[in-house]
């Protein structure tokens, strides 16, 4: 320290360049350096700021000292003090003729302000003047300032001047102008804002040919950004890029661009990144760049970090572009050095690169077992996290347990929310894909909930619930025990907290005590459902279960209505399963509010439960009220009625296709529809057939043209606002009705008869009229597609019919009014249940009827469970060595699973007539040839399954996002050659991530219940069938709607199978290019 001070002193005396002109600033720095405490420092700065304020507002301000003032201001700001009073002064100094002041002012402005600040407006004129200056240094300064200060609204003011500077004789100016344009491009990457129609990339292309390498490298940055947005227009630049890279790596650039003897490594890496973006998924492009990649990789050595950086970037490029075996081999060879290196940095990038290679060639990781395990054991969290990422990518059914254990270990010690979220997501994903057994899945997911419940996606909770439902009684019992223990633990912790605070129980809610011990709401919903459905299997008496359930509210005083509602339903079910009104639970629940008649043991809990019911009866929430009333009404019913309404363990009931067809046709609505039509209502037209109308409405906010007169003069039924809405349909869509209807429903006998048309946005949200309008879409779809109904799972309200306890109408009506669903929501809901049910039914996966040794009972076993038993058995047999387990990458060739022919055949039969409209609908999605529906295709193959499903979807009018996503997916599957058995994830016997499954659930009615249940997680029975719990159904729909359903899962489906196929080394994938 002393020596450094001396150096500064010497500098003061001798060096003319430094420190001379800033005496007061030096004094300030020294004063701060001598401060002993933060308070003292703050005082010094405050004094300084006061002084500066005074000086700067002085009219006789000494302009020549502007620079010093600016620097002192910046220094104060760096130390964390506010100097905003001086921004205006800085703006003034920026127009000072003295470059000395000007530069300091610009620097201060770029530090103080950014492009969002309104003050920038005052600077534009100065900036423009400076960009036109004769002095190239001033131009450079102004251009650099523009990259910080010019925002989207000011781009157009400076753009022409900057473009002019591209032809400046000084390469420095040209370079900075390119960077400024690069910045402008970032402001509006899609060129649809202020830069619409501006040909930025033309300038970049021109500058790529600049004779100065610095300018060229600046244009590379800009082009890279453009290419990241959309590579297609730049494919023709590939030869230029490869030739530049070739020349650079051959050392053709001037020596001054060398960096530690490597030729212009920064340019090389930029080029490699660009090539990766251009070559991704493009075979021809990738082949063109293979030679130069090979050369670059060969010429770089690991003698210096920069060489490693080039190699690393090469490997990343090689793994991004279309796979080339030779390049991959070379890449694998070169990262071996990284992994063996003692440097953590190199090992880190080595692991990252290995993850990239493993994705393409699973065998690559095997030879680096030791290195990988070392990294996993490393004390360095960053490295460990990276390794976990690698493991995540190489997880198979045989190593999942170890990997998930490692991840959980990391999760329990990690505190960064972003990382925790990521790990939770990964664990859920893996568990869903490769779970060796249902019991393992249940414990793992519950553990995840405990450790990081706040990050768990609700869809995972649905899967968990569905999986539990699909298993046998022993698992039910163990799940019940596990959850009761979880609740035990929580309530003891809460009690402990209470004891510590030693205050009245009311204070516990306000004490933050033990936030870590509190279970998140999602898992509580799951627990409620499980204990409600299977609580009677618990080893402890029913009253104890009741006490635990009610005790949830003692811990979570601020529980949401949703949780309370689920709790009520759980109590109802528990009572129904344990002897009804005369059972202990039932007694406790229906005892009068203020007189405790419960058995001695369950007295307290029983009293609590009765309190809860009573409170809910008077709740402000209509839903809670309704549930509480239902609870009471059901418990007063005869035992036979009660057990019929809430049968034990009926969440996986199966219905025959005939039953479903009868239900889905919605016959009881036909009279209603006919009445409406007779009353003058218009035909129903699925939204996607409504021509440009919906599109217009969506894309443009306002319409300026007058509306055309209504096509029909409709006597409005006062009760039905929805019909009134149809009346205002303009004639464009009105005239399109017939044509569109013809496209959509040629097979429907009802073509000639008028159909309902429901305006999706219309509709009242309240009152009894809603009931009628609500039925619009489903009624019309049933009319339109009587055959399709065979596949279409029933609309929820209609589904209640078979086991209707008589409360149908009032319940549907009130449930609609409870949530204020509009008809369009209902449609969306239908789609999310049927088309988009992928989110709920993702694990339903392939149903390996042929391969799976499972009882063909009414339960449909979950895909992740069924697909793996054989392999989990082998895994169990070879457990001894964790390393083996972890890195055993032998891909067990999965049994090709023949799809069950029965239901599919049925469906395809019923759907053949409908194939044309479906084709039309799908064509708009993905131009899939409708030909795959040809009757010649063997029944039961995927092509038909998929297309049948798609047809069903279109009949339902699934215009909403979920449906669309689902449709995409079907197309992907359906357009494979019919003979090819299960594609992608399915064929692998792999868990079939997300969407792979959706056709199944659509096509085969068995699955419907299961997936419906998944959607209806917290609560009573299968969606649409639980006669006793309609609000519950509603909730299920809402949940499904909240989920990112079809679209997301469709995309996942589009991506994942590709990976799996590559992992399995299958080359004949006709969709490789499309999907990667």
């Amino acid at each position: 320290m002393q020596s450094k001070l001396e150096k500064v002193v010497a500098g003061l005396k001798t060096g003319p360049r430094f420190l001379k002109e800033l005496r007061e600033f030096d004094n300030l720095v020294k004063a701060i350096g001598e401060c002993k405490s933060k308070a003292e420092e703050d005082r010094v700065i405050s004094q300084e700021l006061e002084l500066l304020k005074q000086r700067l507002s002085d009219p006789k301000l000494d302009k020549s000292r502007g620079k010093e003032y600016m620097i002192r201001l910046m220094y104060c700001e760096i130390l964390g003090h506010d100097a905003s009073f001086a921004y205006i002064k800085a703006l003034q100094f920026a127009s000072d003729p003295n470059i000395y002041t000007k530069k300091a002012a610009y620097l201060a402005l770029t530090q103080f302000l950014d492009y969002n600040d309104n003050l920038v407006l005052l600077l534009v004129n100065t900036l423009l003047l400076d960009m036109k200056s004769d002095n190239y240094l001033i131009v450079c300064t102004a251009l650099v300032a523009a990259t910080r200060l010019i925002g989207a609204d000011l781009v157009n003011a400076v753009y022409p001047v900057v473009v002019e500077r591209l032809r400046h004789p000084k390469e420095h100016v040209r370079k900075k102008a390119v960077m400024a344009l690069h910045w402008f491009g970032q402001l509006d990457p899609r060129r649809d804002g202020p830069l619409a129609g501006v040909e930025l990339d033309k300038h970049f292309r021109t500058m790529l040919c600049d004779k100065d390498p610095s300018v060229m490298s600046a244009s590379l940055c800009a082009l890279h950004d453009c290419i990241k947005v959309d590579p297609r227009p730049y494919k023709n630049l590939i030869p230029s890029f490869t030739s530049i890279l070739k020349q650079v790596s051959e050392h053709r650039l001037p020596k001054s661009y060398d960096y530690h003897r490597f030729p212009a490594p920064f340019i090389q890496i930029k080029l490699l990144k660009i090539l990766a973006a251009l070559g991704a998924g493009d075979r021809a492009a990738s082949e063109n760049m293979a030679a130069v990649l090979h050369q670059t990789l060969r010429r770089a050595t690991t003698s210096h970090t920069i060489g490693s950086a080039i190699i690393y970037e090469c490997v990343r490029t090689i793994t991004t572009i279309y796979p080339n075996p030779q390049l991959l081999a070379a890449a694998a060879e070169s990262i071996a050095t990284f992994l063996r290196s003692p440097s953590h940095n190199l090992r880190y990038v080595g692991i990252d690169a290995l993850a990239g290679i493993t994705a393409l060639n699973p065998a690559a990781a095997a030879e680096h077992q030791v290195a990988v395990l070392d990294c996993l054991e490393d004390p360095d969290d960053t490295l460990k996290l990276k390794t976990l990422e690698l493991l995540y990518k190489m997880t198979k059914a045989n190593n999942i347990q170890v990997i998930v254990d490692k991840m959980m270990g990391f999760l329990s010690s990690c505190t960064d929310e972003h990382i925790r979220k990521d790990i939770v997501r990964k664990v859920c994903d893996l568990a869903e894909r490769y779970a060796p057994s249902p019991a393992w899945f249940v414990t793992t997911i519950s553990e995840v909930f405990r450790l990081g419940g706040e990050h768990v996606d609700e869809a995972d909770a649905h899967r968990l619930v569905r999986l539990i439902a699909e298993q046998d009684a022993s698992l039910h019992a163990s799940a019940v025990e596990a959850y009761l223990e979880l609740l035990d633990g929580e309530s003891t912790a809460a009690a402990a907290a209470e004891a510590v605070t030693a205050t009245a129980s009311g204070a516990v809610a306000t004490t933050p005590g033990l936030p870590r011990k509190k279970l998140p709401e999602t898992i509580l919903l799951v627990i409620c459902w499980v204990l409600g459905e299977f609580g009677h299997l618990a080893r402890r008496p029913a009253q104890a279960v009741l006490a635990r359930l009610v005790g949830i509210l003692n811990v979570h005083k601020a529980a949401s209505d949703r949780l309370r509602g689920c709790l009520l339903t759980a109590l109802t079910k528990l009572a129904a399963h344990t002897g009804g009104a005369t059972g202990p639970v039932g007694q406790a629940l229906i005892q009068p509010h203020d007189g405790g008649v419960g058995s001695a043991m369950g007295r307290a809990a029983g009293q609590d439960a009765a309190d809860l019911v009573h409170k809910c009866l008077n709740s402000q929430s209509l839903e809670l009220q309704q549930r509480a009333h239902e609870l009471q009404a059901l418990l007063r019913c005869a035992p036979a009625v009660l057990s019929a309404a809430l049968p034990v363990d009926a969440s996986c009931e199966e219905f025959s296709p005939q039953d479903l067809a009868a239900v889905a046709a919605l016959p009881f609505l036909e009279g209603h529809v006919a009445r409406a039509l007779a009353g003058g209502a218009a035909n129903y037209l699925p939204p996607e057939a409504r021509g440009g109308r919906t599109g217009d409405g969506g894309s443009k906010g306002l319409r300026f043209a007058a509306y055309e007169p209504a096509p029909y003069a409709i006597p409005l039924a006062a009760a039905s606002t929805s019909y009134a809405a149809t009346g205002t349909y303009d004639s464009r869509s009105g005239s399109g009705t017939a044509a569109a209807a013809a496209v959509i429903v040629p097979s429907a006998s009802s073509m000639t008869e008028p159909q309902l048309m429901v305006k999706s946005a219309g509709g009242r949200k309240w009152g009894p009229a809603q009931f009628e309008t609500d039925y619009g879409p489903s009624a019309s779809s049933s009319q339109a597609a009587p055959v399709a109904a065979a596949i279409v799972p029933p609309a929820p309200a209609a589904a209640a019919a078979p086991r209707n306890t008589g409360a149908h109408h009032s319940r549907s009506g009130s449930s609609a009014s409870l949530t204020g669903q509009t008809p369009s929501e209902r449609e969306r809901l239908a789609a999310s249940l049927f088309g988009g049910s992928g989110s709920g039914s993702t694990t339903t996966a392939v149903r390996p009827t042929a391969a799976a040794p499972l009882p063909a009972g009414p339960r449909q076993l979950n895909g992740s469970a069924t697909a793996t038993p054989t392999r989990s058995a082998t895994a169990a047999a070879t457990t001894p060595n964790p390393m083996d387990l972890l890195l055993d990458l032998d891909v067990v060739p999965p049994p090709q699973q023949q799809r069950p022919a029965g239901p599919a055949a049925v469906a395809s039969g019923t759907n053949n007539g409908a194939s044309q409209p479906a084709g039309d609908w799908m064509a708009s999605m993905m131009a899939a040839p409708p030909g795959f529906m040809s009757p010649a295709a063997p029944p039961g193959t995927l092509g038909q399954v998929g297309s049948g499903a798609a047809a069903g979807g279109s009949f339902l009018g699934l215009d909403i996002p979920n449906g669309a996503g689902g449709g995409m997916m079907y197309n992907i599957q359906a357009s494979r050659p019919p003979q090819q058995q299960a594609p992608g994830g399915m064929g692998m016997g792999m868990p079939a991530p997300m969407g792979g499954i959706m056709p199944t659930s659509l096509q085969q009615p068995h699955f419907v219940q299961a997936s419906g249940l998944g959607g209806g997680m917290g609560v009573g029975g299968p969606v649409g069938y639980g006669a006793a719990a309609p609000p519950v159904q509603l909730q299920a729909w809402q949940q499904q709607q909240q989920l990112p359903t079809g679209m997301a899962s469709g995309m996942v489906a589009a991506i994942r199978p590709q990976q799996h196929q590559q992992q399995a080394g299958r080359s004949a994938d006709p969709f490789g290019d499309l999907l990667s």
Partner: protein, 156 residues
């Protein structure tokens, strides 16, 4: 791209901070407050990368100063390290054996140099020679301006 470059002392005092993405004053203070302990607490032997929120921190220690870059999660970590190193090399050559005090007393010069190296979060000048030439030109001009020969520094 690079979101920010921060130079901090071993005591956690910020010596220089350049923000390429938009952070308002509050966010800047929070970023500094959050990353400082993470970086200062890391043992020497571990790797120079840290995952923080959705960005990656690349840091390197030179004597008593930590150079920290926040980059996109998908960026090449090694090249960012080398950008830091190049910055240090340029500083070193300019200040002739740079030390922390040089950067305290002449932080504006350090900013000028950084502006030559990085623009809008991307490396813009791969050649050290060009940077030096440019900075020296600037110094020359400033020198002239100071000596009263302002003709050169006048805008048109």
């Amino acid at each position: 791209m690079i979101h920010f470059v921060i130079l901090m002392s071993r005591q956690g005092k910020v010596r220089l901070a350049k923000w390429y993405s938009t952070y308002n004053m509050k966010e800047r203070a929070r970023v500094v407050k959050e990353i400082t302990p993470m970086i200062l607490a890391r043992p020497l032997k571990l790797c120079n990368f840290l995952d923080w929120k959705n960005i990656k921190l690349i840091y390197k220690r030179y004597a008593s100063l930590y150079f920290v870059c926040g980059v996109d999660a998908g960026d090449n970590e090694l090249i960012t390290l080398e950008i830091i190193h190049e910055f240090v090399e340029v500083l070193d050559r300019y200040f002739q054996n740079v030390c922390e005090l040089d950067l305290i007393f002449n932080f504006h010069k350090a900013y000028y140099i950084l502006d030559e190296l990085l623009v809008a979060g991307e490396l813009q000048e791969p050649s050290k020679k060009a940077i030096h030439k440019h900075i020296n030109d600037q110094d020359q001009l400033v020198e002239n301006a100071k000596n009263g020969t302002t003709e050169e520094g006048q805008p048109k």
